[in-house]
């Protein structure tokens, strides 16, 4: 097989050994008797990539082509937008918990805060952070590549994202302010008078989203092709860490879903600027018939959610992957049911394109769609539940380090299961009817795609900080950070579901004195107070990073005793090119912890079968 490949491709393998017809899986693996070539791994099919090394400060730190630096750039830019989003949420909670206390928050401002908070957190913070940030940093390291396959395009990707963020932030300063159309941007109101920022604000938002999609496509192609084409020798797909699987699947989803956002942005821009009527029916406003007619507002909702639902998984799948790795490393046990985990990620990704209209049960679309979309939505709960079972089964009979990283993972499991269960309420079409557009929805999606992924991000920061910065973050500060954030966030969103049961609609600037709403006043004050505390508690992380950089303990190589390749670089932190002279060769999956008979409680992916011949390691 390999012979044929060689002839066709015309590449000369680097090694001159005879090429055997068997794949490495058929030969490697201990316990099956020692054969002379048991350490054999198929030779590389492509020559090594040439790297462009920076020659100046600007090439090294600004227009840098090293995926690790680009990852950090993405990370910092995304965190900046996240801080803006956090401040906006404070302002919203100020109005909701203590209406009238801050006189400058008018209804217009409130809706602008709601909109910008939503869009920033979902797209510019979470998506960019997981894929642009963690994706760039971890993919080449984890698959054993020297860099992304298209480093220059990768650099452009970040700068396109940066411009998108600048355009987005500029909308705070244009006449009329940023758009206040709600993050879903439902037309017709989005581009009509009566909505804040219906002039400049919405235009800048649409332009910024389009730029984001263009930039993201450049990055996404890199992530996909690097994972498919640039894996090191022996790194079969089924030996990749779940982090890579999660990021890979999320990127494929993004490639398929973002075009729907791009076209709907363009169509809406045309409606706004040129007076086309893609989404605009005949409208009577202030006694005058507008010059629109025949368009469909529901068409926009279909396009938006065809992007919007996969988007949920674009955020969730990398989080699933990362948390699987963190749990396995810190429970010192192999991830339970790896193949099930991989297929669950892929299955969830595929199914996520068939559930979008569950956001639209009461949108006025043909009500018969409800049967189909309720069924697909609840089916997706099965692979998701399997993942949850596998996480807790990984803890079972493990040897669990209860450190800061593990705490964030545990916090993730609690919030994710909680938010997942409330998703079953909302996905089950007729149960959604009383709850849709109430605070139940707000509580649900914040729990499941706000707090749960945030727990993973924090866990990942504490886990990989030693790799990125070469120093160990302070455990004590980390634990304070965790407990305040977790307890605070849980007490924001858990009781918020009950406001939804009362019937309090979302996106209400002011509740007035409806009897069933006033009963929630005390609860709203409590939630707001908790929100202020949780936001402020993030300073623990900032302080921790500053303190660590100044006086922190230097990290040894591979401080967590992990197996995956990113801990086996030539230097810590890894330099450009990652692995020094020789790329690592992979012989096993990254989850061989506590293998019976092994001397240490971990076997790196690079450990050759002959080194572990005396153990009971299973074939992977």
């Amino acid at each position: 097989m390999s012979d044929e490949y060689e002839n066709k491709s015309g590449y000369q393998a680097q090694s001159s050994e005879t090429i055997h017809a068997q794949s490495s899986e058929a030969i490697t693996g201990g316990g099956s008797g020692i054969t002379p070539d048991m350490d054999y791994v198929r030779p590389a099919e492509l020559p090594e990539q040439d790297l462009y090394h920076p020659h100046s400060f600007i090439e090294k730190w600004v227009f840098c082509q090293d995926a690790k630096v680009i990852g950090v750039q993405y990370f910092l830019t995304a965190v900046f937008t996240g801080v803006v989003g956090l401040i906006l949420s404070w302002l919203m909670r100020l109005q909701l918990g203590f209406p009238g206390l801050a006189g400058f928050i008018t209804a217009e401002h409130y809706y602008q805060f709601v909109t910008m908070h939503g869009m920033i957190m979902v797209v510019y913070f979470l998506t960019a952070l997981f894929l642009g940030g963690f994706g760039n940093y971890l993919i080449p390291l984890m698959v054993g590549a020297r860099d992304m396959v298209f480093p220059y395009v990768n650099m452009l990707s970040f700068w396109m994202f940066f411009v998108a963020v600048v355009v987005l932030m500029a909308s705070f300063f244009v006449p009329g302010g940023p758009t206040g159309a709600g993050w879903t941007l439902y037309p017709p109101q989005t581009i009509l008078e009566g909505t804040p920022g219906h002039g400049w604000g919405i235009l800048l938002m649409l332009i910024s989203l389009s730029l984001f999609v263009i930039g993201f496509t450049m990055g996404g192609l890199n992530y996909m092709i690097t994972i498919l084409q640039a894996r090191t020798r022996g790194m079969t797909l089924m030996r990749m860490p779940l982090t890579v699987w999660g990021i890979f699947t999320a990127t494929v989803l993004a490639m398929l879903a973002f075009p729907a956002l791009l076209v709907s942005s363009i169509m809406m821009t045309l409606d706004k600027l040129l007076g086309t009527s893609f989404f605009m029916p005949t409208i009577l406003k202030a006694g005058e018939v507008l010059e629109y007619g025949g368009g469909s507002p529901i068409l926009f909702q279909h396009l938006f959610w065809f992007f919007g639902h996969p988007e949920v998984y674009i955020v969730a799948l990398p989080a699933f992957g990362i948390v699987s790795d963190l749990i396995s490393v810190h429970a010192r046990k192999n991830i339970f049911g790896y193949r099930m985990m991989v297929w669950a990620i892929v299955g969830i990704g595929a199914l996520s394109f068939f559930v979008w209209a569950h956001h639209m049960y009461v949108s006025g679309m043909n009500p018969w769609f409800g049967f189909f979309f309720a069924s697909t939505t609840l089916i997706i709960a099965v692979p998701t539940a399997m993942k949850v079972y596998n996480w807790i089964l990984t803890l079972w009979r493990g040897n669990i380090r209860i450190n800061t990283v593990m705490l964030w993972c545990l916090g993730f499991i609690v919030t994710f299961v909680n938010g997942g269960i409330t998703g079953i309420f909302l996905g089950n079409v007729s149960v959604d009817v009383p709850l849709s557009d109430t605070y139940f929805v707000v509580a649900h999606f914040h729990m499941v795609m706000g707090i749960a992924p945030l727990m993973v991000i924090m866990g990942a920061i504490y886990h990989w900080f030693p790799l990125v910065a070469g120093k160990m973050l302070d455990e004590k500060l980390g634990k304070w950070h965790f407990w305040i954030t977790f307890l605070g966030a849980y007490s924001i969103y858990f009781p918020m579901h009950y406001l939804g049961f009362i019937g309090v609609p979302r996106r209400y600037y002011e509740m007035y004195d409806s009897p069933y709403m006033t009963s929630g006043v005390g609860l709203n004050e409590f939630i707001s107070t908790a929100a202020f505390i949780v936001g402020a508690a993030q300073l623990f992380l900032v302080f921790n990073i500053i303190k660590t950089m100044k006086t922190g303990k230097k990290a040894e190589q591979n401080p967590w005793k992990a197996n995956s390749l990113e801990w086996y670089t030539s230097t810590v932190p890894p330099e450009h090119g990652n692995f020094g002279d020789r790329l690592p060769v992979v012989h096993r999956w990254p989850y061989d912890y506590n293998v019976p008979g092994a001397e240490q409680d971990y076997l790196p992916q690079t450990a050759a079968p002959s080194e572990v011949a005396h153990t009971e390691v299973e074939k992977t």
Binding site: Y111, S296, G337, N399, V414, D437, S519, Y591
Partner: protein, 291 residues
């Protein structure tokens, strides 16, 4: 192990909060008890899974926290266990989906005897139209709407003439009589929502959407707009009064029909013209020649 204890307290607190919460459903006032029941069922099954998963996690924290040299199980897969869990989950999901779909089937099939109510929404207010003696609503068009014809009824449509017009945010409904809400909007998305009725649907400009319910508790309820519709969204409130049959008939008989409105407008116009004619005949001559 203090970590396990804190997590346990969180789970316990969640369950206690759910049992003792003062914030829960408003008393239901429609036929959609089935929605509430499905929610309760979902709470039992879903809540059970949540508690079970978390308790298992907490058990693991107590039982398997780090100890140097602890013997750890090495078992990458367990096909049998995975199969059992998959099927158990599938069953649980099916048990939740089935009642959900049955009730949805009721929700999208409107009873034949339902009273059609045209709910017209705009930024930011509501008005209502009920069928007259012929039991049918006249057809409408957005471009017909003007001061004389606030509902945009097609003048040629014979069904429209006797339609009962309620130019107010408030409407009355008859107790124990199913209502089919026909929603339309003349500008942006809106949603006519009464929490006590449990049901809702968006009003979409350009099309007519619908849903139905049967009010079954006499009383006054607040109407909320449940789809963001611009800066006045939060203030877009209305009201419903559910009345006994006698009270409702009395209220209905006091309402104006489209015919009444046309007649009133014509009378008003006629009088103003007469007035104008008397005061300044010359200036208004062209009006008469037009007619």
């Amino acid at each position: 192990m203090h970590v396990g204890i804190i997590f346990f307290l969180i789970i316990l607190g969640s369950v206690l909060f759910h049992i003792f919460t003062p914030w829960y459903w408003t008393d239901i006032a429609s036929n959609w008890q089935g929605m509430d029941d499905t929610i309760t069922l979902t709470f039992w099954i879903g809540g059970g899974v949540f508690v079970a998963v978390c308790l298992f996690m907490i058990y693991c924290l107590f039982r398997y926290s780090y100890k140097e040299g602890r013997k750890v199980e090495y078992k990458p897969e367990d096909k049998k266990l995975e199969k059992i869990l998959t099927w158990a989950t599938t069953l649980g999901i099916a048990a939740l989906l089935a009642p959900g779909l049955i009730i949805w089937n009721q929700y999208v099939n409107v009873p034949k005897n339902a009273l059609e109510v045209d709910v017209m929404a705009w930024q930011w207010g509501w008005q209502y139209r009920l069928p007259g003696e012929d039991g049918k609503l006249g057809t409408t068009k957005v471009t017909n709407i003007n001061d004389e014809n606030p509902f945009g009824i097609n003048i040629d449509d014979p069904y429209g003439r006797d339609d009962i017009l309620v130019q107010s945010d408030y409407i009355n409904l008859e107790n124990n009589k199913p209502v089919k809400i026909l929603l339309r909007s003349i500008d942006v998305l809106h949603n006519w929502y009464v929490p006590q009725f449990r049901s809702k649907m968006d009003a979409v400009p350009g099309i007519v959407t619908f849903y139905w319910f049967e009010p079954n508790k006499i009383g006054e309820y607040e109407v909320l707009c449940a789809e963001y519709c611009g800066v006045g969204h939060y203030a877009m409130r209305g009201g419903v009064e559910v009345q006994s049959t006698e009270d409702y008939s009395k209220w209905l008989s006091e309402q104006e029909t489209f015919q009444d409105l046309i007649a009133k407008k014509e009378k008003l116009e006629f009088e103003s013209k007469k007035l104008a004619k008397n005061s300044n005949l010359n200036l208004n001559r062209n009006i008469y020649t037009e007619e």
